[in-house]
């Protein structure tokens, strides 16, 4: 039983870490008022970039950095379209998903199916790794999971809610006209937020291909980019809540694997459905229980609305 739980937790930290990393990026963009539906495409690009980088001799960390860079580059294309040129965010996001998925598949064709040349391997922390349940799951993994699960969410929380920079960013997402009037450069903040978010989405892809799956195949992201977007909503646009949400999703994914490995009498396709159904349940059940608390009100007021300075 302990063995089972340890295995599940270890998988959950990896599977959930991918989602968390992407969601932390998406929440930056969404807090600034830009709805980036292209996470799926960015993750695919990041994933293939990581694989290609390590195949050319880079260590895993450098591979993930390259993935971030590629995410940021494509993020700036998206930002230029939706922030500067004010094109339809939903349409551009979907286009980014399609284009990113296609480009990643085209670039990754010759790397498909091979194991990654370098991965984020396990690092045993001397004393803690011997602990019964958490030992192997938490303290025998690559230290990068601490960055993803602890340092990054905390840093982002402080950045968003405890700094001047953060209040500017949130103001831009709530009421860009008021932010503009008080001297915040709306388009510049939005552009930066989208690029930063896209960089994290790229990193999520790199983490997916270098730490979790450790190989590349077409369609590797498998809808995780969309779960990321749901996770942001589920977490109420708050980085720290998203940590819990990501852990929950990771555990559900891990449960599916356990079911397959142990030959539960449920077809694997149904087990694979669980993360998606759970996401829907997570979105529907809370407002069902507390009907007066409308989750939609937690969203930034100007989410998805392009900003025209001249327009009232």
């Amino acid at each position: 039983m302990i063995e089972l739980l340890t295995g599940m937790l270890a998988t959950a930290l990896l599977a959930g870490g991918v989602l968390l990393l992407g969601a932390l990026g998406e929440v930056i963009a969404e807090r600034a008022g830009v709805f980036n539906l292209g996470v799926e495409g960015l993750m695919a690009l990041g994933g293939v970039t990581g694989i290609i980088a390590v195949a050319h001799g880079a260590p895993a960390v450098a591979g993930m950095f390259c993935a971030m860079l590629v995410g940021a580059v494509f993020g700036s294309v998206f930002a230029a379209s939706v922030v500067l040129l004010r094109a339809n965010q939903t349409l551009c996001g979907l286009a980014l998903t399609v284009a990113g998925g296609g480009l990643a598949a085209a670039a990754g064709q010759s790397y498909s199916g091979q194991p990654a040349a370098a991965i984020f391997g396990p690092v045993h922390i001397p004393v803690l790794a011997a602990l019964p349940l958490a030992g192997r799951a938490v303290f025998s993994q690559n230290p990068i999971i601490y960055v993803i699960w602890i340092i990054l969410p905390l840093a982002l929380h402080v950045l968003l809610f405890r700094t001047r920079w953060g209040i500017s960013l949130r103001a831009v997402g709530e009421d860009p006209a008021a932010a503009d009037a008080s001297g915040v450069r709306v388009l510049r903040v939005r552009f930066a937020a989208v690029v930063a978010g896209a960089a994290l989405a790229g990193a999520a892809g790199g983490f997916l291909s270098l730490a979790y799956i450790t190989s590349w195949s077409d369609g590797l992201t498998g809808g995780r980019g969309w779960i990321v977007i749901a996770l942001v909503i589920f977490g109420g646009f708050k980085p720290l809540n998203m940590v819990l949400g990501a852990l929950l999703f990771g555990l559900i994914t891990a449960l599916g694997f356990v079911g397959q490995a142990r030959d539960w009498p449920i077809p694997p396709a149904f087990l694979s459905m669980m993360p998606y159904l759970a996401t829907i349940a997570c979105m529907v059940v809370p407002p069902l229980l507390a009907r007066q608390r409308r989750s939609r009100f937690l969203a930034p007021a100007s989410l998805g609305v392009p900003y025209f300075r001249e327009q009232r």
Partner: protein, 322 residues
């Protein structure tokens, strides 16, 4: 908007390819019919997304509803013994109902709990894909077909309009006009448009906004499901994994390009069908499938940007813009 697309297409490809694509699509009946076969499902999935956009909501689940419709139509087709006409009508009904059923939970959650519909509808796509995978590899698998995982051949076929192009195309076009009439000329359509423009104003005016959301969503899901049924009964004749060809997602782009206007779905879906067909032609020139996919995305993005830029050129002519 159109300029943006054409420009992007020319910008990324040598002129010769463009000519070849045009020749392949238009020079003979065969090319045109192929175009029509891509065009008709796009009309329906585009219409499905556009209908939801009329009330200001995003149905990103066209893909899943398409699959649901395809599953239901295949089941009916395989298990019902009836004259062709009756069977086809039953399959169409089953497809429509299954598509509507697939969107039922997101619609209820949206109407009564204000749960974001774009995510819930979208997540059900993955569930539908997995369900089809399960059915095609498990209970519905045709034992006679060892190579591909697919259901048995559905015995009922939609009669052809031309050689390859079937009556489903005519049905799709007719539905566009029917929906356009419904939205443009009926009290119901007026209420939907008001609710889409300002939900609170509509509620104050005594309109039943929630009920309208439900009806619009069910219609939207039903149309996408019908697209799935037509694909099964008209083109593919069985249930298989990739049957939707991303038509559900592409329908969303059709609707966005059409500005959510039902009639504009026709030219918008034609444009996208042309683009997809061009992709197929390009593949025969050795350009990889994935590169074509990437190209489609880039063209769509330039279309979105181009639409905005076109608006810019018009703006100075509007007097009194502060």
């Amino acid at each position: 908007m159109f300029g943006g697309m054409v420009f992007a297409l020319c910008g990324y490809d040598p002129e010769k390819l463009v000519f070849d694509v045009a020749r392949a699509s238009f020079s003979n009946l065969f090319g045109l019919e192929d175009l029509g076969l891509i065009w008709s499902p796009l009309i329906l999935t585009g219409l499905a997304a556009a209908v939801a956009l009329r009330i200001g909501l995003w149905n990103i689940g066209g893909e899943g509803q398409f699959y649901a419709g395809a599953i239901a139509a295949t089941l009916v087709g395989l298990h019902v013994q009836a004259p062709v006409g009756v069977a086809l009508v039953l399959m169409g009904l089953a497809g429509f109902v299954a598509g509507a059923a697939w969107i039922l939970v997101p619609a209820l959650a949206r109407a009564w709990l204000a749960v974001d519909e774009s995510i819930t509808t979208l997540l059900l796509n993955f569930v539908a894909v997995l369900l089809v995978t399960y059915l095609c590899t498990g209970p519905m698998r045709d034992p006679a077909n060892a190579v591909t995982a697919a259901s048995a051949h559905v015995p009922y076929e939609i009669p052809p309009l031309l050689d390859d192009l079937h009556w489903g195309f005519a049905v799709s076009v007719a539905l566009v006009f029917a929906v356009a009439l419904l939205f443009g000329r009926s009290v119901w359509g007026y209420e939907v448009r008001v609710a889409g423009a300002n939900r609170h104003a509509a509620a104050y005016a005594g309109m039943r906004v929630r009920r309208r959301i439900m009806q619009v969503f069910l219609l939207s899901g039903g149309l996408a499901g019908l697209a799935g049924m037509l694909e099964v009964a008209g083109t593919v004749h069985r249930l298989e994994g990739g049957i939707s060809n991303n038509f559900g997602y592409l329908g969303l782009m059709v609707a966005a390009l059409a500005g959510a206007s039902p009639l504009a779905v026709l030219p918008a879906s034609f444009l996208l069908a042309l683009l997809l067909n061009a992709g197929i032609v390009l593949q025969s020139y050795g350009v990889s499938k994935y590169a074509v996919l990437a190209l489609t995305g880039l063209v769509l993005m330039s279309a979105a940007v181009g639409e905005r830029l076109a608006y810019y050129r018009l703006a100075p002519k509007i007097p009194g813009a502060s």
